[in-house]
Protein backbone atom coordinates (compact mmCIF):
# COMPACT_ATOMS: atom_id res chain seq x y z
CA UNK A 1 0.00 0.00 0.00
CA UNK A 2 1.31 3.41 -0.91
CA UNK A 3 0.80 5.24 2.34
CA UNK A 4 1.36 8.70 0.92
CA UNK A 5 -0.80 8.18 -2.11
CA UNK A 6 -4.00 6.23 -2.30
CA UNK A 7 -4.75 5.74 1.35
CA UNK A 8 -4.46 9.34 2.50
CA UNK A 9 -6.06 10.68 -0.67
CA UNK A 10 -9.09 8.46 -0.08
CA UNK A 11 -9.40 9.85 3.45
CA UNK A 12 -9.02 13.36 2.06
CA UNK A 13 -11.76 12.67 -0.51
CA UNK A 14 -14.01 11.38 2.22
CA UNK A 15 -13.47 14.47 4.36
CA UNK A 16 -14.10 16.77 1.39
CA UNK A 17 -17.32 14.91 0.65
CA UNK A 18 -18.70 14.93 4.19
CA UNK A 19 -17.59 18.40 5.30
CA UNK A 20 -20.24 20.39 3.33
CA UNK A 21 -22.93 18.54 5.31
CA UNK A 22 -21.50 19.54 8.69
CA UNK A 23 -23.09 22.59 10.31
CA UNK A 24 -22.60 24.58 13.49
CA UNK A 25 -25.57 24.77 15.78
CA UNK A 26 -24.73 27.96 17.57
CA UNK A 27 -24.41 27.58 21.26
CA UNK A 28 -23.11 24.19 21.92
CA UNK A 29 -22.48 21.96 19.04
CA UNK A 30 -22.68 20.49 15.62
CA UNK A 31 -25.36 19.17 13.33
CA UNK A 32 -25.72 17.57 9.95
CA UNK A 33 -27.72 18.35 6.87
CA UNK A 34 -30.41 15.72 6.52
CA UNK A 35 -32.17 16.95 3.41
CA UNK A 36 -31.32 19.15 0.45
CA UNK A 37 -34.13 21.56 1.32
CA UNK A 38 -33.06 22.46 4.79
CA UNK A 39 -33.62 19.78 7.41
CA UNK A 40 -30.89 19.73 10.04
CA UNK A 41 -30.46 16.84 12.46
CA UNK A 42 -28.73 17.44 15.77
CA UNK A 43 -28.84 16.54 19.45
CA UNK A 44 -31.71 17.74 21.59
CA UNK A 45 -29.32 19.00 24.27
CA UNK A 46 -27.56 21.18 21.71
CA UNK A 47 -30.75 23.05 20.83
CA UNK A 48 -31.67 24.46 24.21
CA UNK A 49 -34.92 26.35 24.73
CA UNK A 50 -34.96 28.50 21.63
CA UNK A 51 -34.41 27.71 17.98
CA UNK A 52 -30.70 28.26 17.41
CA UNK A 53 -28.78 29.91 14.61
CA UNK A 54 -27.37 27.38 12.15
CA UNK A 55 -24.12 28.17 10.34
CA UNK A 56 -23.36 26.17 7.23
CA UNK A 57 -19.92 25.03 6.18
CA UNK A 58 -19.83 27.86 3.60
CA UNK A 59 -20.34 30.38 6.46
CA UNK A 60 -23.96 31.22 5.58
CA UNK A 61 -26.03 31.80 8.73
CA UNK A 62 -29.69 30.85 9.06
CA UNK A 63 -32.32 31.20 11.69
CA UNK A 64 -33.79 27.81 12.31
CA UNK A 65 -37.18 26.47 13.28
CA UNK A 66 -37.42 23.63 15.71
CA UNK A 67 -39.60 21.02 14.07
CA UNK A 68 -39.38 18.21 16.59
CA UNK A 69 -37.35 17.10 19.54
CA UNK A 70 -37.00 13.89 21.50
CA UNK A 71 -35.17 14.34 24.80
CA UNK A 72 -35.32 10.60 25.49
CA UNK A 73 -33.11 9.82 22.54
CA UNK A 74 -31.42 13.22 22.49
CA UNK A 75 -32.47 14.04 18.93
CA UNK A 76 -33.81 17.25 17.43
CA UNK A 77 -34.85 18.20 13.92
CA UNK A 78 -34.39 21.79 12.77
CA UNK A 79 -35.34 23.40 9.53
CA UNK A 80 -33.64 26.29 7.76
CA UNK A 81 -34.87 28.24 4.76
CA UNK A 82 -32.32 27.05 2.23
CA UNK A 83 -32.25 24.80 -0.80
CA UNK A 84 -29.66 22.82 -2.76
CA UNK A 85 -27.89 21.72 0.37
CA UNK A 86 -25.71 18.61 0.45
CA UNK A 87 -27.29 15.98 2.71
CA UNK A 88 -25.42 13.05 4.17
CA UNK A 89 -26.23 9.54 3.02
CA UNK A 90 -27.27 7.15 5.80
CA UNK A 91 -25.37 3.87 5.82
CA UNK A 92 -27.54 1.08 4.39
CA UNK A 93 -26.26 -1.60 6.78
CA UNK A 94 -25.69 -1.90 10.51
CA UNK A 95 -22.17 -0.99 11.69
CA UNK A 96 -19.64 -3.76 12.37
CA UNK A 97 -17.34 -3.76 15.37
CA UNK A 98 -13.85 -2.91 14.10
CA UNK A 99 -14.89 -0.89 11.06
CA UNK A 100 -13.31 2.52 10.56
CA UNK A 101 -15.20 5.63 11.55
CA UNK A 102 -14.61 9.35 11.26
CA UNK A 103 -16.24 11.83 13.61
CA UNK A 104 -16.95 15.37 12.39
CA UNK A 105 -17.63 18.28 14.67
CA UNK A 106 -16.33 21.35 16.49
CA UNK A 107 -14.66 20.05 19.68
CA UNK A 108 -14.12 22.85 22.21
CA UNK A 109 -15.42 25.25 19.57
CA UNK A 110 -12.65 24.51 17.09
CA UNK A 111 -14.32 24.38 13.71
CA UNK A 112 -14.49 21.40 11.34
CA UNK A 113 -12.38 18.87 13.18
CA UNK A 114 -12.16 15.27 11.99
CA UNK A 115 -11.14 12.47 14.33
CA UNK A 116 -10.54 8.83 13.41
CA UNK A 117 -11.41 5.62 15.19
CA UNK A 118 -13.18 2.33 14.89
CA UNK A 119 -16.54 1.05 16.05
CA UNK A 120 -15.74 -0.31 19.52
CA UNK A 121 -19.13 -1.71 20.40
CA UNK A 122 -22.76 -1.61 19.37
CA UNK A 123 -24.80 -1.34 22.55
CA UNK A 124 -28.38 -0.86 23.62
CA UNK A 125 -29.02 2.29 25.62
CA UNK A 126 -32.07 2.79 27.73
CA UNK A 127 -34.02 6.00 27.37
CA UNK A 128 -35.70 7.63 30.34
CA UNK A 129 -39.01 6.26 29.16
CA UNK A 130 -37.62 2.72 29.28
CA UNK A 131 -37.33 2.32 25.55
CA UNK A 132 -34.13 0.64 24.34
CA UNK A 133 -32.30 1.91 21.29
CA UNK A 134 -28.98 1.10 19.60
CA UNK A 135 -25.95 3.31 20.26
CA UNK A 136 -22.42 3.07 18.90
CA UNK A 137 -19.33 3.37 21.03
CA UNK A 138 -16.19 4.31 19.11
CA UNK A 139 -12.61 5.02 20.08
CA UNK A 140 -12.54 8.24 18.05
CA UNK A 141 -11.55 11.17 20.25
CA UNK A 142 -14.55 13.40 20.93
CA UNK A 143 -15.10 16.47 23.07
CA UNK A 144 -17.95 18.84 23.85
CA UNK A 145 -18.72 20.52 20.53
CA UNK A 146 -18.84 17.20 18.72
CA UNK A 147 -22.41 16.81 19.96
CA UNK A 148 -24.87 16.50 17.11
CA UNK A 149 -22.15 15.93 14.52
CA UNK A 150 -22.02 12.90 12.25
CA UNK A 151 -20.07 9.69 12.71
CA UNK A 152 -19.40 8.32 9.22
CA UNK A 153 -17.98 5.05 7.91
CA UNK A 154 -15.19 4.44 5.38
CA UNK A 155 -17.63 5.18 2.55
CA UNK A 156 -18.60 8.55 3.94
CA UNK A 157 -22.06 7.28 4.88
CA UNK A 158 -23.39 8.44 8.23
CA UNK A 159 -23.77 5.66 10.82
CA UNK A 160 -24.49 7.75 13.91
CA UNK A 161 -24.98 11.10 15.60
CA UNK A 162 -22.35 11.88 18.23
CA UNK A 163 -23.98 12.46 21.58
CA UNK A 164 -23.45 11.97 25.28
CA UNK A 165 -19.90 13.26 25.07
CA UNK A 166 -18.09 13.03 28.35
CA UNK A 167 -14.65 13.18 26.76
CA UNK A 168 -12.13 10.46 25.99
CA UNK A 169 -13.57 7.00 25.69
CA UNK A 170 -16.88 7.78 27.33
CA UNK A 171 -18.55 8.95 24.14
CA UNK A 172 -21.48 7.38 22.40
CA UNK A 173 -23.20 7.98 19.08
CA UNK A 174 -26.90 7.39 18.48
CA UNK A 175 -27.36 4.87 15.70
CA UNK A 176 -28.55 6.35 12.41
CA UNK A 177 -31.45 3.86 12.37
CA UNK A 178 -32.87 5.64 15.43
CA UNK A 179 -32.57 8.98 13.66
CA UNK A 180 -34.29 7.58 10.59
CA UNK A 181 -37.22 6.34 12.66
CA UNK A 182 -37.36 9.69 14.42
CA UNK A 183 -37.56 11.65 11.17
CA UNK A 184 -40.10 9.30 9.60
CA UNK A 185 -42.23 9.63 12.72
CA UNK A 186 -42.04 13.40 12.45
CA UNK A 187 -43.07 13.12 8.84
CA UNK A 188 -46.03 10.87 9.65
CA UNK A 189 -47.27 13.15 12.43
CA UNK A 190 -46.86 16.27 10.34
CA UNK A 191 -48.69 14.82 7.36
CA UNK A 192 -51.84 16.96 7.65
CA UNK A 193 -50.02 20.22 8.11
CA UNK A 194 -47.55 19.42 5.40
CA UNK A 195 -50.21 19.09 2.76
CA UNK A 196 -51.13 22.73 3.28
CA UNK A 197 -48.91 25.07 1.34
CA UNK A 198 -47.14 27.21 3.85
CA UNK A 199 -45.55 30.49 2.94
CA UNK A 200 -42.89 32.00 5.06
CA UNK A 201 -42.24 35.66 5.55
CA UNK A 202 -44.82 37.71 3.71
CA UNK A 203 -48.13 37.76 5.58
Amino acid sequence: MNFNGTFTSVINDLVQRVMPSLVIVRGAGAGMIWSADGLILTNNHVVGRRSPIVILNDDREFESKLIARNPDMDLALLSIYATNLTPLVPAPAAPRVGEMVFAFGHPWGERNVVTRGIVSAVLLAQARNGERFPVIRSDATLAPGNSGGPLVNANGEVIGINAMIMGGDQSLAISISVARDFVSKVRAENKVELKRPISEGVI
Binding site: M1, V10, N70, P71, V89, E99, S120, A154, E200
Partner: protein, 332 residues
Protein backbone atom coordinates in the same frame (compact mmCIF):
# COMPACT_ATOMS: atom_id res chain seq x y z
CA UNK B 1 -49.28 17.54 21.91
CA UNK B 2 -47.86 14.31 23.26
CA UNK B 3 -47.69 11.23 21.08
CA UNK B 4 -48.19 7.76 22.54
CA UNK B 5 -44.66 6.43 22.10
CA UNK B 6 -42.72 9.65 22.60
CA UNK B 7 -44.11 11.21 25.78
CA UNK B 8 -41.97 14.33 25.52
CA UNK B 9 -42.41 14.66 21.82
CA UNK B 10 -43.07 18.17 20.57
CA UNK B 11 -43.42 19.51 17.07
CA UNK B 12 -44.23 22.64 15.20
CA UNK B 13 -45.34 23.10 11.64
CA UNK B 14 -42.52 23.59 9.23
CA UNK B 15 -42.30 27.07 7.78
CA UNK B 16 -41.97 26.28 4.10
CA UNK B 17 -42.58 23.73 1.39
CA UNK B 18 -45.29 21.16 1.15
CA UNK B 19 -43.31 18.02 1.72
CA UNK B 20 -41.00 16.86 4.39
CA UNK B 21 -38.85 14.33 2.61
CA UNK B 22 -37.40 11.57 4.77
CA UNK B 23 -34.28 10.80 2.87
CA UNK B 24 -34.07 13.30 0.06
CA UNK B 25 -30.95 13.45 -1.98
CA UNK B 26 -30.38 9.75 -1.58
CA UNK B 27 -29.23 9.92 -5.18
CA UNK B 28 -26.07 11.03 -3.47
CA UNK B 29 -25.29 7.36 -3.30
CA UNK B 30 -24.51 7.47 -6.98
CA UNK B 31 -21.98 10.22 -6.51
CA UNK B 32 -20.13 8.07 -4.04
CA UNK B 33 -18.30 5.21 -5.64
CA UNK B 34 -19.74 2.27 -3.81
CA UNK B 35 -17.21 -0.12 -5.30
CA UNK B 36 -14.53 -0.78 -2.76
CA UNK B 37 -12.02 1.93 -2.11
CA UNK B 38 -8.75 1.46 -0.28
CA UNK B 39 -10.23 2.79 2.92
CA UNK B 40 -13.29 0.53 2.73
CA UNK B 41 -11.08 -2.51 2.16
CA UNK B 42 -8.93 -1.53 5.10
CA UNK B 43 -12.01 -0.94 7.24
CA UNK B 44 -13.47 -4.33 6.23
CA UNK B 45 -10.16 -6.02 7.04
CA UNK B 46 -10.23 -4.55 10.55
CA UNK B 47 -13.84 -5.60 11.11
CA UNK B 48 -12.98 -9.08 9.76
CA UNK B 49 -10.05 -9.31 12.18
CA UNK B 50 -12.29 -8.34 15.10
CA UNK B 51 -14.89 -10.88 14.02
CA UNK B 52 -12.33 -13.64 13.55
CA UNK B 53 -10.56 -13.18 16.88
CA UNK B 54 -13.92 -12.45 18.52
CA UNK B 55 -14.91 -16.11 17.98
CA UNK B 56 -12.28 -17.10 20.55
CA UNK B 57 -12.89 -14.20 22.94
CA UNK B 58 -15.23 -15.15 25.77
CA UNK B 59 -16.93 -13.44 28.70
CA UNK B 60 -15.53 -14.39 32.11
CA UNK B 61 -17.91 -13.71 34.98
CA UNK B 62 -15.95 -14.30 38.18
CA UNK B 63 -16.22 -11.06 40.12
CA UNK B 64 -18.88 -8.78 41.52
CA UNK B 65 -18.16 -5.86 39.21
CA UNK B 66 -18.57 -5.86 35.42
CA UNK B 67 -17.44 -9.20 33.91
CA UNK B 68 -14.08 -9.45 32.16
CA UNK B 69 -12.81 -11.26 29.08
CA UNK B 70 -10.88 -14.42 28.30
CA UNK B 71 -9.25 -16.20 25.38
CA UNK B 72 -10.00 -19.81 24.44
CA UNK B 73 -6.66 -21.61 24.18
CA UNK B 74 -8.25 -25.04 23.75
CA UNK B 75 -11.81 -26.28 23.32
CA UNK B 76 -12.12 -26.61 27.10
CA UNK B 77 -9.49 -24.13 28.38
CA UNK B 78 -9.80 -20.37 28.83
CA UNK B 79 -6.83 -18.09 29.49
CA UNK B 80 -7.70 -14.94 31.41
CA UNK B 81 -6.23 -12.40 33.82
CA UNK B 82 -5.77 -13.64 37.38
CA UNK B 83 -7.00 -10.42 38.97
CA UNK B 84 -10.48 -10.72 37.43
CA UNK B 85 -11.03 -14.03 39.27
CA UNK B 86 -12.39 -13.03 42.65
CA UNK B 87 -14.08 -16.26 43.61
CA UNK B 88 -13.21 -19.94 43.60
CA UNK B 89 -16.45 -21.51 42.50
CA UNK B 90 -19.51 -20.71 40.43
CA UNK B 91 -17.33 -19.21 37.74
CA UNK B 92 -19.30 -18.50 34.60
CA UNK B 93 -17.97 -18.31 31.05
CA UNK B 94 -20.17 -17.14 28.19
CA UNK B 95 -19.12 -18.20 24.69
CA UNK B 96 -19.52 -15.83 21.70
CA UNK B 97 -22.67 -17.67 20.63
CA UNK B 98 -24.28 -16.92 24.01
CA UNK B 99 -23.81 -20.36 25.59
CA UNK B 100 -23.33 -20.14 29.35
CA UNK B 101 -20.83 -22.62 30.75
CA UNK B 102 -19.58 -23.22 34.26
CA UNK B 103 -15.84 -23.34 34.78
CA UNK B 104 -13.34 -24.16 37.50
CA UNK B 105 -9.88 -22.77 38.08
CA UNK B 106 -7.29 -25.08 36.50
CA UNK B 107 -4.37 -22.94 37.62
CA UNK B 108 -3.45 -19.40 38.48
CA UNK B 109 -0.29 -17.34 38.75
CA UNK B 110 -0.84 -13.99 40.49
CA UNK B 111 2.78 -12.99 39.76
CA UNK B 112 2.18 -12.80 36.03
CA UNK B 113 -1.57 -12.11 36.42
CA UNK B 114 -2.60 -15.15 34.40
CA UNK B 115 -5.18 -17.81 35.16
CA UNK B 116 -6.46 -20.82 33.26
CA UNK B 117 -10.08 -21.94 33.56
CA UNK B 118 -11.36 -25.39 32.66
CA UNK B 119 -14.80 -25.48 31.06
CA UNK B 120 -17.34 -28.17 31.82
CA UNK B 121 -17.84 -28.66 28.10
CA UNK B 122 -15.28 -28.63 25.28
CA UNK B 123 -17.13 -26.27 22.99
CA UNK B 124 -14.95 -23.15 22.71
CA UNK B 125 -13.11 -22.14 19.55
CA UNK B 126 -9.37 -21.97 20.29
CA UNK B 127 -7.61 -18.76 19.27
CA UNK B 128 -4.91 -18.70 16.64
CA UNK B 129 -1.69 -17.11 17.84
CA UNK B 130 0.57 -15.02 15.66
CA UNK B 131 3.48 -16.53 13.76
CA UNK B 132 5.38 -13.24 13.74
CA UNK B 133 5.98 -11.45 17.05
CA UNK B 134 4.63 -7.94 17.59
CA UNK B 135 6.58 -5.02 16.09
CA UNK B 136 6.62 -1.43 17.25
CA UNK B 137 4.37 0.61 14.97
CA UNK B 138 2.15 -2.21 13.77
CA UNK B 139 -1.63 -1.80 13.88
CA UNK B 140 -3.40 -3.73 16.59
CA UNK B 141 -6.91 -4.24 17.93
CA UNK B 142 -7.62 -4.73 21.62
CA UNK B 143 -10.68 -6.94 21.98
CA UNK B 144 -12.97 -7.68 24.90
CA UNK B 145 -16.33 -9.23 25.65
CA UNK B 146 -17.51 -7.78 28.97
CA UNK B 147 -21.18 -7.93 27.92
CA UNK B 148 -23.36 -10.31 25.98
CA UNK B 149 -24.03 -7.59 23.41
CA UNK B 150 -21.15 -8.71 21.24
CA UNK B 151 -17.45 -8.25 20.75
CA UNK B 152 -15.88 -4.87 21.60
CA UNK B 153 -12.74 -3.43 20.06
CA UNK B 154 -10.39 -0.48 19.98
CA UNK B 155 -7.68 0.32 17.46
CA UNK B 156 -4.12 1.42 18.09
CA UNK B 157 -0.47 0.74 17.39
CA UNK B 158 2.23 -1.12 19.27
CA UNK B 159 3.99 1.72 21.13
CA UNK B 160 6.83 -0.20 22.77
CA UNK B 161 8.07 -3.68 23.57
CA UNK B 162 9.92 -3.71 26.87
CA UNK B 163 11.16 -6.03 29.59
CA UNK B 164 12.15 -7.69 31.74
CA UNK B 165 10.16 -5.93 34.39
CA UNK B 166 9.10 -6.77 37.93
CA UNK B 167 5.32 -6.68 38.00
CA UNK B 168 3.21 -4.91 40.56
CA UNK B 169 2.19 -8.36 41.82
CA UNK B 170 5.64 -9.67 42.67
CA UNK B 171 6.25 -11.59 39.47
CA UNK B 172 8.69 -11.12 36.67
CA UNK B 173 7.69 -10.44 33.10
CA UNK B 174 10.41 -11.16 30.52
CA UNK B 175 8.73 -9.01 27.90
CA UNK B 176 5.59 -6.93 27.56
CA UNK B 177 3.87 -4.97 24.81
CA UNK B 178 2.59 -1.43 25.35
CA UNK B 179 -0.03 -0.09 22.96
CA UNK B 180 -2.10 3.06 22.58
CA UNK B 181 -5.38 1.15 22.36
CA UNK B 182 -8.17 2.10 24.74
CA UNK B 183 -8.74 -0.49 27.42
CA UNK B 184 -12.46 -0.33 28.14
CA UNK B 185 -13.78 -1.70 31.44
CA UNK B 186 -13.79 -5.50 31.28
CA UNK B 187 -11.06 -5.75 28.63
CA UNK B 188 -8.62 -7.51 31.00
CA UNK B 189 -8.11 -11.07 29.82
CA UNK B 190 -8.99 -10.21 26.23
CA UNK B 191 -6.64 -10.57 23.28
CA UNK B 192 -4.48 -8.07 21.44
CA UNK B 193 -4.73 -9.03 17.79
CA UNK B 194 -2.93 -8.00 14.62
CA UNK B 195 -4.62 -6.77 11.46
CA UNK B 196 -4.96 -10.40 10.34
CA UNK B 197 -6.89 -11.36 13.49
CA UNK B 198 -4.19 -13.60 14.99
CA UNK B 199 -3.47 -13.14 18.68
CA UNK B 200 -0.34 -11.20 19.68
CA UNK B 201 -0.92 -11.38 23.42
CA UNK B 202 -3.31 -11.05 26.33
CA UNK B 203 -4.28 -7.65 27.77
CA UNK B 204 -4.37 -6.95 31.47
CA UNK B 205 -4.60 -3.85 33.61
CA UNK B 206 -3.56 -5.79 36.70
CA UNK B 207 0.21 -5.61 36.31
CA UNK B 208 1.12 -1.98 35.86
CA UNK B 209 -0.89 0.03 38.38
CA UNK B 210 -4.11 0.00 36.41
CA UNK B 211 -2.77 0.86 32.96
CA UNK B 212 -3.20 -1.90 30.44
CA UNK B 213 -0.23 -3.81 29.10
CA UNK B 214 -0.09 -6.90 26.94
CA UNK B 215 1.67 -10.15 27.83
CA UNK B 216 3.09 -11.52 24.56
CA UNK B 217 1.39 -14.67 23.32
CA UNK B 218 4.51 -16.90 23.46
CA UNK B 219 5.07 -16.13 27.16
CA UNK B 220 1.37 -16.27 28.07
CA UNK B 221 0.73 -19.55 26.26
CA UNK B 222 3.82 -21.15 27.84
CA UNK B 223 2.62 -20.06 31.28
CA UNK B 224 -0.89 -21.27 30.47
CA UNK B 225 0.49 -24.66 29.50
CA UNK B 226 2.24 -25.00 32.86
CA UNK B 227 -0.83 -23.73 34.72
CA UNK B 228 -3.10 -26.22 32.98
CA UNK B 229 -0.71 -29.07 33.88
CA UNK B 230 0.49 -28.16 37.36
CA UNK B 231 -1.93 -25.52 38.63
CA UNK B 232 0.83 -23.09 39.53
CA UNK B 233 4.15 -21.74 38.29
CA UNK B 234 7.31 -23.04 39.92
CA UNK B 235 9.44 -20.25 41.34
CA UNK B 236 13.09 -21.16 41.66
CA UNK B 237 15.17 -20.63 44.79
CA UNK B 238 18.94 -20.24 45.24
CA UNK B 239 19.28 -18.97 48.78
CA UNK B 240 21.69 -16.10 48.25
CA UNK B 241 21.71 -12.46 49.25
CA UNK B 242 23.48 -10.35 46.70
CA UNK B 243 24.14 -6.87 45.49
CA UNK B 244 24.96 -5.48 42.07
CA UNK B 245 28.67 -4.70 41.61
CA UNK B 246 30.83 -3.58 38.72
CA UNK B 247 33.00 -6.19 37.06
CA UNK B 248 36.56 -5.00 36.50
CA UNK B 249 38.05 -4.96 33.02
CA UNK B 250 40.48 -7.76 33.96
CA UNK B 251 37.65 -9.92 35.26
CA UNK B 252 35.68 -9.23 32.09
CA UNK B 253 38.64 -10.68 30.16
CA UNK B 254 38.38 -13.95 32.06
CA UNK B 255 34.61 -13.89 31.42
CA UNK B 256 35.43 -13.54 27.72
CA UNK B 257 32.59 -11.05 27.21
CA UNK B 258 31.75 -7.43 27.91
CA UNK B 259 29.57 -7.34 30.97
CA UNK B 260 29.50 -4.24 33.15
CA UNK B 261 27.92 -5.68 36.29
CA UNK B 262 27.28 -8.90 38.16
CA UNK B 263 25.82 -9.96 41.52
CA UNK B 264 28.19 -10.06 44.50
CA UNK B 265 27.14 -12.82 46.88
CA UNK B 266 27.03 -11.23 50.34
CA UNK B 267 25.20 -13.97 52.19
CA UNK B 268 24.20 -17.62 51.88
CA UNK B 269 21.24 -19.31 53.53
CA UNK B 270 22.20 -22.41 55.49
CA UNK B 271 21.54 -25.67 53.58
CA UNK B 272 20.28 -23.69 50.59
CA UNK B 273 20.71 -24.93 47.01
CA UNK B 274 23.47 -22.34 46.50
CA UNK B 275 25.53 -23.40 49.50
CA UNK B 276 25.07 -27.10 48.67
CA UNK B 277 26.20 -26.37 45.12
CA UNK B 278 29.39 -24.71 46.34
CA UNK B 279 28.69 -20.98 45.92
CA UNK B 280 30.70 -18.84 48.36
CA UNK B 281 30.29 -15.44 49.90
CA UNK B 282 32.42 -13.06 47.81
CA UNK B 283 31.67 -14.76 44.50
CA UNK B 284 30.35 -12.52 41.76
CA UNK B 285 27.49 -14.31 40.03
CA UNK B 286 27.83 -13.44 36.35
CA UNK B 287 25.67 -15.91 34.49
CA UNK B 288 23.18 -18.75 34.79
CA UNK B 289 22.50 -21.51 32.28
CA UNK B 290 24.50 -19.69 29.64
CA UNK B 291 22.70 -16.35 30.06
CA UNK B 292 24.58 -13.33 31.47
CA UNK B 293 23.17 -11.89 34.70
CA UNK B 294 23.79 -8.18 35.26
CA UNK B 295 20.94 -7.33 37.62
CA UNK B 296 18.70 -8.99 40.19
CA UNK B 297 15.71 -8.78 37.86
CA UNK B 298 17.46 -10.91 35.27
CA UNK B 299 18.27 -13.59 37.82
CA UNK B 300 14.69 -13.44 39.08
CA UNK B 301 13.38 -13.87 35.54
CA UNK B 302 15.63 -16.88 34.91
CA UNK B 303 14.67 -18.64 38.13
CA UNK B 304 11.27 -19.87 37.07
CA UNK B 305 9.58 -22.64 35.19
CA UNK B 306 11.55 -25.53 33.72
CA UNK B 307 14.85 -24.73 35.44
CA UNK B 308 13.44 -25.60 38.87
CA UNK B 309 14.77 -28.89 40.27
CA UNK B 310 17.48 -29.20 37.64
CA UNK B 311 21.24 -29.07 38.00
CA UNK B 312 22.14 -25.74 36.43
CA UNK B 313 25.59 -24.30 35.61
CA UNK B 314 26.21 -20.96 37.31
CA UNK B 315 29.11 -18.74 36.23
CA UNK B 316 30.90 -17.00 39.08
CA UNK B 317 34.00 -14.83 39.29
CA UNK B 318 36.06 -16.00 42.24
CA UNK B 319 39.24 -14.01 42.84
CA UNK B 320 38.97 -12.63 39.34
CA UNK B 321 38.86 -16.09 37.78
CA UNK B 322 35.88 -17.61 36.03
CA UNK B 323 34.48 -20.72 37.68
CA UNK B 324 31.40 -22.71 36.85
CA UNK B 325 29.51 -24.39 39.68
CA UNK B 326 26.51 -26.63 39.25
CA UNK B 327 23.55 -25.89 41.49
CA UNK B 328 20.33 -27.86 41.74
CA UNK B 329 17.76 -25.05 41.73
CA UNK B 330 15.34 -25.40 44.61
CA UNK B 331 11.68 -24.51 44.70
CA UNK B 332 10.27 -21.73 46.81
Amino acid sequence: MPSPSYPNFQYKTIPFGDTLPLRPGYTGAKEIDMTKNTLQEFSDALADAAERAGKSTVLVDARRRIPASGIAIAADLILTADHVIEKDDELKVTLPDGTDLTARIAGRDPGSDLAVLKLDSASATPAETTKTPARVGQLVLALGRPTTNGIEASLGTVSAINGPVRTGRGGMLEKYIRTDTISYPGFSGGPLVGADGTVLGINTSGLAHGTAITIPADIAWKTADTLAKHGHIKRGYLGIRSQTVEISVDAQKSLKREQATGLLVVGLEKDSPASKGGLMVGDILAGIAGAPIEHHDELFARLSGDIVGKSTPIEVLRGGELKTVNVVIGER
